[in-house]
């Protein structure tokens, strides 16, 4: 009996997957993706024309048609190999996007995700280098420690906001910089640095995420990052949509005063949501760094370009995914896809930064697109109303003629 009910529920939700109305929320994102790619292709076209007409001189002539093909092929350029690359790069992006998106949902702008990523990575490195444990426990401990440390780092921002009314954007930015130098202090203080290359030491094999040559991905060295990311998406979806805590956090995001009036502890909720957001970012940082051949480079510029940029990409992912967990999954995959396309653009003598330009344009249009979409919808409604009036008028006319 119970089984039947459960089966019915599963069937219903499965059928729900194929109802188009469920995906209406994604339409603005899709529109803006279209605009972004068109913009990118136009820019490439203009550069091609400029180069053809010798407005500027290059030794490497850009090849327009090849470039467009490469860009659009994105993560599929080299078959399974680049798909593996794409999934590998997508995992931290998805997690960072989840972190920022979750904070958005609760009415906070967590621009501190980059700092939390640094802290997560730092803790994972410290655990990995300073503790010796057998394989499965070692990386699990490093991962969990990274998550907890970054959660506490986020809690600091949340507490400053809730208790002392410090604007979370400013606190986050300050904490980002503090995190970099804290990382340097700890890494140098504990002799975890290779003095010749000024990188952190290589993590032992037991502290790396489980990875292996997967036949499916053309023997590409895959790790379980993407699986962890998908699990995080599912958990976050359940927390946000099916639990009281999630409901409370969202309520605080919608209207702080109303939720306070309804008896919710808004201060506690702000702290909780910043902690969870920090934990997700910390997970991203740990996954980013627990890979063979990945280091912290101990200069501010390198940290910003290689580690913290993931956190800033998280903002794009969250915005493109409309702050939804599932949205972040697809947005992260898409961002990673278009980055792969940008990477291969070098072959066509275009610069890889094209992918970043396209992403930024997409974000801009996604800001506009909700408005654009509403505009189109209103037009449609108006148009249909006008049509109805016209038809009824015509019917009346015909009737009148008939009567005559």
């Amino acid at each position: 009996m119970k089984l039947k009910i459960i089966l019915a529920k599963v069937w219903k939700s499965f059928k729900g997957l194929f109802q188009m109305s469920r995906y209406q929320g994604a339409i603005p994102s899709l529109i803006s993706i279209g605009f972004g790619i068109v913009f990118g292709i136009l820019t490439m076209f203009i550069i091609w024309i400029l180069a053809l007409t010798k407005v500027f001189n290059t030794t490497n002539m850009p090849e327009f048609f090849y470039g467009v093909a490469v860009l659009l092929a994105g993560g599929f350029n080299e078959g399974m190999d680049s798909i593996g690359d794409m999934l590998y790069a997508a995992a931290p992006l998805i997690l960072a996007g989840l972190s920022v998106g979750f904070a958005f949902k609760t009415g906070l702008f967590n621009i501190g995700a980059p700092g939390q990523i640094v802290v997560g990575g730092l803790t994972a490195i410290t655990i990995g280098l300073k503790i010796t444990l057998p394989a499965p426990w070692h990386w699990m401990l490093a991962l969990i420690a990274g998550v907890i440390a970054a959660g506490l780092w986020g809690l600091i921002i949340g507490a400053l906001k809730a208790l002392l009314n410090v604007h979370e954007v400013v606190a986050s930015i300050m904490m980002n910089y503090i995190s970099i130098y804290t990382a340097f202090l700890i890494i140098k203080g504990n002799n975890m640095v290779n003095t010749q290359t000024s990188q952190t030491l290589q993590l032992p094999a037991s502290a790396l995420l489980p990875h292996g040559e997967v036949a499916l991905f053309a023997y590409y060295d895959m790790n379980i990052g993407i699986i962890i990311a998908i699990l995080a998406v599912i958990i976050l979806y359940i927390v946000l949509n099916k639990t009281t805590l999630g409901y409370q956090l969202k309520a605080v995001g919608f209207n702080k005063d109303a939720s306070k009036y309804a008896g919710m502890n808004t201060k506690r909720n702000i702290m909780i949501s910043m902690t969870i957001s920090g934990m997700l970012a910390g997970l991203a940082g740990a996954i980013l760094i627990m890979v063979s051949g990945k280091y912290f480079q101990l200069t501010k510029e390198a940290m910003m370009a290689e580690v913290m940029s993931v956190g800033f990409d998280g903002i794009s992912v969250a915005l493109l995914g409309l702050s939804q967990p599932v949205g972040a999954l697809f947005a992260g995959l898409f961002l990673s896809y278009i980055r792969q396309g940008g990477y291969y653009l070098n072959l066509a003598n275009y610069m890889a930064e094209m992918a970043d330009v396209i992403t930024a344009v997409i974000i801009y249009f996604s800001a506009l697109s909700t408005a654009l979409y509403a505009l189109v919808k209103n037009r449609k409604i108006k148009f249909e109303a006008l049509k109805k009036i016209r038809i009824s008028k015509r019917k009346q006319e015909i009737k009148e003629r008939g009567e005559i």
Binding site: L164, V170, A171, I315, E353, A367
Partner: protein
Amino acid sequence: MIFAVSFYDLLGNTILTMIPLLIVAIGAMICERSGVTNIALEGIMIMGAFVSIWIISRLEWHWVEGVKTYWANTNWEKTFLLLIGFLIGGIVGLLFSWFHAYASISMKADQTISATALNLIAPALAFYIARTFIGGRQVFFTTSFMMNRVGFLADIPVLGDLFFKRVNSGLYLGIIILIIAYFFVYKTREGLRLRACGENPHAADSLGVNIYKVRYRAVLISGFLAGAGGFLFAVSTATSFEGTVSGYGFLAIAVLIFGNWKPFRILFAAFFFGLMTTIGAGGNSIDFIRALGLPSDFYPMVPYLATLIVLSFSSRSSRAPKAAGKVYDQGTR
């Protein structure tokens, strides 16, 4: 006497750091006072700095060469070039900030999203253009905009050492902008309207103020100042520009909030931050700080830590403009 030298050094470097911050933060203040949050300052600064530095580097090569023999590296030549760069940076910033204004005011988009998009597009575009047309990520220029002494004014006992020796003309521009901004916001009719838009746009609208126009103007002004501030940042730190303003746009927002949305408190906040940055950067060269024997990576952290601590004590009483960050829609009353 050793102390005296390092004291002037300290203040000189402080002024150098604080001026771009001050100018950008004042732009941000005007913008937020009208009710639009502008976290796109970072991107606008990058764009303004990139284009103006690019043009300045060309001007140095082709055009000033001839003039140089006449002016022969005088302060006037530097000031003139700086002014050109300032204006170009400002105009580029103004044009670039129009995207933010259009999205957040006309299209009623989320202000955070459109601003973030600008922050993303600026460095990407700067890198892309630089690599395609210049052939590398960096844009170099040769003029050093630092003036060793400013005529007879440098002979005034204390002030001369502080304000008329080893400064760039940005200092004077910054002070002028601060004063103009103060009078604009508090002493003119436009300023009153601006403040009304940020506090209660519906009330202002009912009295016949065109909210959209006022906000557009405010965003464009902040764009101008941010672009120009980006240029000043680039010329006061190095002799090349590489698609980054090291987070100064975000820091300007911190300065704005620290300064409680008021011009002269912003001046103080910028000074405080500049001082802390200088102490952080020069850490080991100042005697009483070296005596503490801290590890060298601690010093760069000082400005951020200090700001955070000061903010956590002063934020309880801080009050943002009420309508800041909210989309204005005439239909929702």
